[in-house]
């Protein structure tokens, strides 16, 4: 498991180094971080807030927190995308058990999932890289 984790970190680091930074002068487009966060915020209110709450704190022992969560902020984007697509049931998260199930959200589009995840990775105390619709699409294609 540890080996996989390091693998992911190394791979991500490699990806970051080789990634071309977006020019500051470039006009905002739907794919930019800010726009994605904005759309994600709207979607969060509709799809996530009831359980994960306004402060992203979840509900102790019932619904997992997003704010401060290593899983949410971390580099394993595939796992995050899969949680939204497939939901989660009876699984311990960072050593804590949560009573309520998370329903699957396969009905959301790739862009909607990307926006929601980008928002929760960049709200409250979280700060992490964007998730793109292409990344969601790739995971969905492999998702059974």
């Amino acid at each position: 498991m540890k080996a996989i984790k390091y693998g992911v970190v190394t791979l991500t680091a490699f990806f970051l180094i080789n990634h071309q930074p977006i020019s500051a002068t470039e006009q905002p487009s739907p794919s930019t971080l800010k726009a994605s966060i904005g759309r994600g915020k709207e979607l969060y209110l509709l799809q996530c807030l009831a359980c994960h709450q306004v402060d992203g704190g979840g509900v102790p022992h019932l619904n997992a927190p997003l704010d401060g969560s290593a899983n949410v902020k971390g580099n394993n984007k595939a796992r995050l995308i899969k949680i939204v697509l497939n939901g989660l049931k009876g699984e311990e998260i960072e050593g804590e058990a949560y009573g309520n199930v998370m329903a699957p959200h396969k009905d959301l589009t790739d862009q909607q999932i990307a926006d929601i995840l980008t928002y929760v990775r960049n709200n409250w105390s979280n700060k992490a890289s964007q998730i793109t619709s292409a990344e969601v699409k790739a995971i969905r294609a492999k998702n059974k």
């Binding site: 306004v54 402060d55 979840g58 019932l62 309520n100």
Partner: protein, 434 residues
């Protein structure tokens, strides 16, 4: 130390004199403990005061006080070795626990004392421990296992208990589901018909207190159609079980075309039932709308937010409370310390909501419901507030404390447990502090 001992001796002498001089009712009204300067952070009605008996005990759920004033409280979740039940003893009479011991290797919620035994539950079993004449557990290592093999899901897994005066114990077995949908908590998913959960959960089961290793086969489903009950109490005046149901969640998330966010926050009441053998409260087929005062057909079962249930099988609640407040403790007050109006009325500890979002959360308080002629008056009032430490709770995680269990002390004090920080509060009445 010597000072304390001589002070204690003086107290005993004084107390003995009081006993000799006054009748026992008078003794019950003697409050010897002093409330904390800030009333333990609680907002109380005039004349009442509060103190913290203990703090940082873990996830303290239900609690009970023996005749000597010692407190036993049950710890929920994964517990460390011999940390499942905590006993609090106050050796100098200042109301603060100064001898804290523990035993039991199982997490759980239920705890009660009846006829010389301490009863406690895990999420699957119920145990009992014989008490000595000082109310202390004789053998903490080897309790009698009286009930075993109860169903436990990921949600509503706790087993609250209450005992009657005829050798029976009542155990809540919560439904491991929100509304018995084919896919739990999934948008638009319809309800299973009939709901298969009800054969072994979603109700109250009755067992014998003195028979070992009882399973479902020896128990009896005493009441059904109850989604989850955490707070329950045997009303000895009426010789009847009363329960508080946690109403359903997520009307808006699951059926957004039928319920808006306001309806989600206000519609599915938390409900009190006076249970008779065979009572069916109707979960998952109905919920109770506290604005229309009607049982409504659940949207998973053909409801449209307007369709009233006319099924005669389902009982009406004795009283309805605002949605989602999470009643975790119920206690009928029989003490003499509080003013007369409290006698035989009900205290309810509301753990506090999460499913009212995006509207502000509510609850996180202890309320009082006056009873007249064995029935609730239908009105309730906040008795103790301020547990959350916030004016408005916007996110559940932010609440500093959440009231959970209730117990009455031998002097008529009301004890409240908090399962966030493990604080035990004691609320007392003293006319002079008015």
């Amino acid at each position: 130390m010597r000072k304390i001992v001589s002070l204690c001796l003086a107290c005993i002498v004084l107390l003995s004199t009081t006993v000799l001089a006054a009748d026992s009712t008078h003794l019950n009204n003697q409050i010897t403990v002093k409330p904390d300067a800030d009333n333990a952070g609680l907002k109380l009605l005039p004349g009442f005061g509060a103190l913290k008996v203990a703090d940082n005990l873990g996830r303290t759920r239900h609690l009970v006080v023996n005749a000597q004033g010692d407190i036993y409280t049950k710890i929920m979740g994964r517990v460390a070795s011999e940390k499942g039940i905590v006993k609090l003893h106050d050796s100098n009479g200042d109301g603060k626990a100064d001898v804290i011991t523990s035993f039991g290797n199982y997490g759980g919620t239920g705890i009660a004392i009846k006829n010389g035994y301490l009863y406690a539950s895990s999420d699957e079993e119920v145990f009992r421990y014989k008490l000595d004449d000082k109310g202390a557990v004789l053998d903490t290592k080897q309790p009698e296992k009286i009930i075993t093999g109860l169903k436990k899901g990921n949600q509503h897994e706790t087993k609250s208990i209450a005992l009657d005066n005829d050798g029976n114990i009542y155990v809540n077995i919560g439904a491991y589901s929100n509304s018995c949908q084919i896919e739990d908590r999934t948008k638009g998913s319809l309800g299973k018909m009939p709901c298969p959960i009800l054969d072994s959960a979603g109700g109250i089961w009755q067992f014998k207190t003195s028979v070992l290793n009882q399973t479902y086969a020896q128990g009896e489903r005493y009441a059904t159609g109850l989604r989850n009950v955490v707070g329950l109490d045997w009303n000895s005046q009426l010789n009847q079980l009363f329960v508080m149901q946690h109403g359903r969640d997520q009307l808006h998330d699951l059926f957004p075309e039928l319920y808006d966010e306001r309806a989600n926050a206000e519609k599915p009441a938390e409900t009190m039932y006076a249970i008779k053998k065979g009572t069916n409260a109707g979960w998952p087929y109905v919920y109770y709308d506290p604005e229309l005062n009607k049982k409504m057909v659940a949207p998973e079962y053909g409801g449209d937010a307007k369709k009233e249930s006319t099924d005669p099988a389902f009982s009406n609640p004795t009283m309805a409370f605002p949605a989602h407040l999470a009643p975790n403790g119920l206690l009928f007050y029989t003490g003499n310390q509080f003013p007369e109006k409290y006698k035989n009325g009900a205290f309810i500890a509301f753990h506090g909501s999460w499913n009212r979002a995006p509207l502000p959360q509510a609850g996180y308080f202890v309320v009082f419901v006056p009873f007249e002629n064995g029935k609730p008056t239908g009105k309730w009032e906040v008795f103790a507030d301020g547990f959350s430490g916030m004016e408005v709770v916007t996110g559940t995680r932010g609440a500093a404390h959440r009231p959970c269990g209730l117990a009455q002390g031998p002097d008529g004090s009301l004890y409240v447990s908090d399962d966030v920080k493990g604080t035990i509060y004691r609320i007392v009445y003293n006319k002079e502090t008015k």
